[in-house]
């Protein structure tokens, strides 16, 4: 059976098409302004890459913060659920998942079957997300990939005080003025976020194996900082940013079909409101 998983996040769309569990095609790209369109377009490309027609695909499951926007999906599953399914497929020994994407960092505790037992997310501030890294790389005037390499060369740890991404930016600038090496600054940035994410992970409890996924997992500098913060090994699968999509595809194959979750807000009820 052929199934597809589509992960539509804040910044990127990731698509995985599988046949009886084996991956036929992976396709990723930026969401741009219109996420639905981007998903549509990339899905077409993915099918082409896999040499398939739409009707060949039995079931499509979407996930990610904008999963519900994917009109052609047969169902939607929550992103943490997709993470869990994807990770357990790739690394069966995984018990704790740390997923750091552009706008959210989350930790998930899973059972050996890949069921979500507990989860926590980095609440309401950007200082624990990929965006923080992007902002800092802009301030440091080196691309993120470069930052990763630099931080691995760093020899000392400098604490960053700023919580806010924008103040972090100016803290980086003042570190530059203090003639702090770019290596050390890069590490300071990674350590700062790792600290935030690390404490989120501790909320669900750190059970081995800890697996990190999401776009930021491609940043070895950050992974290093995270290992340091957690004081334990952190595994990273190949293409860590495709894991959510893979999980959705797995769900599709398994036939998990949640009816689309409407985001409509129920009208407010007051304290007098009762059962009557």
């Amino acid at each position: 059976m052929i199934s597809a998983g589509i992960d539509v996040g804040g910044k990127n769309v990731h698509i995985v098409i599988t046949k009886n569990g084996t991956i036929l095609a992976k396709m990723g790209g930026p969401t741009g302004i219109n996420k639905a369109e981007a998903a549509e377009k990339l899905y077409a490309e993915a099918l082409k890459k896999a040499g398939l027609k739409r009707e060949d695909v039995t079931r499509v499951v979407a996930t990610g913060s904008s999963g519900p926007r994917v009109a052609f999906a047969n169902g939607v599953i929550p992103d943490a659920a997709a993470d869990a399914r994807g990770v357990i497929k790739l690394i069966p020994s995984a018990r704790t998942i740390i997923d750091v994407g552009g706008e959210e960092g989350r930790a998930i505790k899973i059972s050996p079957e890949g069921k979500v037992l507990d989860f926590a997310i980095n609440e309401r501030c950007a200082a624990g997300t990929g965006t923080f890294v992007d902002t800092m790389s802009r301030a440091l005037e080196v691309p993120v990939e470069e930052m990763a390499k630099l931080s691995l060369k760093s020899t000392q740890s400098i604490p960053m005080n700023a919580q806010c991404a924008v103040f972090g930016e100016s803290e980086v600038v003042s570190l530059i003025h203090q003639k702090t090496s770019k290596q050390d600054i890069a590490r300071a940035v990674h350590d700062a976020i790792a600290g935030r994410i690390g404490s989120v992970a501790r909320i669900v409890g750190l059970e081995k194996d800890v697996v990190m996924i999401g776009g930021v997992a491609k940043n070895p500098g950050f992974v290093e900082s995270l290992k340091r913060d957690l004081g334990m090994e952190v595994k990273v699968p190949d293409d860590p940013d495709f894991v959510g999509a893979l999980g959705a595809a797995t769900a599709a194959a398994a036939g998990v079909l949640e009816e689309k979750v409407q985001a409509k807000v129920v009208e407010k009820e007051t304290i007098e409101e009762g059962k009557a």
Binding site: K35, R69, E103, A126, D134, E141, V166
Partner: protein
């Protein structure tokens, strides 16, 4: 993960100006104020307390460089050299890294003093909307700070935020103000003013097909609201003037006036001579003006010696 930069919608034009009617060589004191902010840098040159030249440039990652860049730009159409300056005061967020400055004074004091010079002695409340700080200042008729407050450890509702927004919505930053009024009716404001999360929210609105102008209106309104909160905490007293970059954004200013129920002082020189000559009025140079005026005062009062090298 790294964003490849397209057109930089946040980038605004850099400017400079020299007053042709002043012969600085006759001056008793030539003073300068260099305001190195987190986003923009200005240099202001004053001749015996008269505005002689200024520049408004973008701050790079290196403050000393930015300082040189803006002071050289201010003097590019003048025969004055930096060595001719008697006393220079550095201000702004990068004030400690202004090589040509003899001393530093915070932008809070400088903006109050500058606003007093630009808008006149009736100003009692000054709002400096800078790159990453909002400063609400109460001052007396000489522009002396009586009380002030700054935004908390988060950059929501600052100039930097507006730039990120401009980039995101792909509209030149100076167009946001005017376009934010080309709307049917005022939309609800963006709920999160956090630079990063506002981004998420804006993207959401764009996807729901909310017209760009409405989103700009919603963002400007959110910013105006943040500033109102700060002013309420400070305790607002008229007349009220705005300095800094955001002052140029009518979209924010008009909404701010509406929410406060207070009119902001007109952006024209208080000094009739300057007004009549139609000298350019740039709200971003208030800090530099204040610094240059303080430098002049310190020389006059013998609190400082001329550092003139030539």
């Amino acid at each position: 993960m790294v964003e490849t930069k397209k057109v930089e919608y946040w980038r605004w034009p850099e400017t400079s100006w020299v007053n042709p009617d002043i012969d600085w060589k006759k001056a008793k004191f030539v003073t300068a104020g260099v305001d190195v902010g987190s986003v923009s840098s200005q240099a202001v040159i004053m001749v015996d307390g008269q505005l002689y030249a200024y520049s408004n440039t973008r701050t790079g990652s290196d403050s000393p460089e930015s300082a040189w860049k803006c002071i050289n730009m201010a003097l590019k159409d003048s025969d004055m050299k930096v060595e001719n300056i008697d006393y220079c005061i550095g201000t702004g967020y990068g004030r400690v890294n202004v090589p040509m400055a003899q001393t530093t004074i915070t932008e809070i004091a400088c903006h109050a003093r500058g606003a007093n010079f630009m808008y006149g002695p009736e100003i009692r409340t000054v709002m400096d909307m800078g790159g990453q700080d909002c400063k609400a200042i109460r001052c007396d008729d000489r522009g002396k700070v009586m009380k002030f407050m700054m935004n908390d450890k988060c950059a929501a509702g600052t100039g930097r935020g507006m730039e990120v927004f401009a980039d995101l919505i792909r509209v030149p930053v100076w167009e946001i103000g005017p376009r934010s009024f080309q709307i049917e009716k005022e939309p609800p404001m963006i709920s999160s003013t956090c630079v990063v999360f506002a981004k998420t929210e804006v993207v959401g609105l764009l996807q729901e097909g909310v017209p760009e102008n409405d989103i700009m209106a919603a963002y400007c309104a959110a910013m105006a609201h943040r500033i109102t909160e700060l002013l309420n905490r400070l305790g607002m007293e008229e007349k009220f003037a705005i300095t800094g970059g955001i002052a140029k954004n009518e979209g924010v200013v008009k909404r701010l006036e509406k929410e406060l129920g207070v009119k902001t002082a007109d952006k024209v020189w208080y000094d009739p001579k300057m007004k009549d000559k139609g000298l350019p009025f740039d709200t971003q140079i208030a800090g530099g003006i204040g610094a240059a005026l303080f430098a002049f005062a310190m020389l006059e009062r013998g609190k400082a010696q001329s550092a003139r090298k030539a």
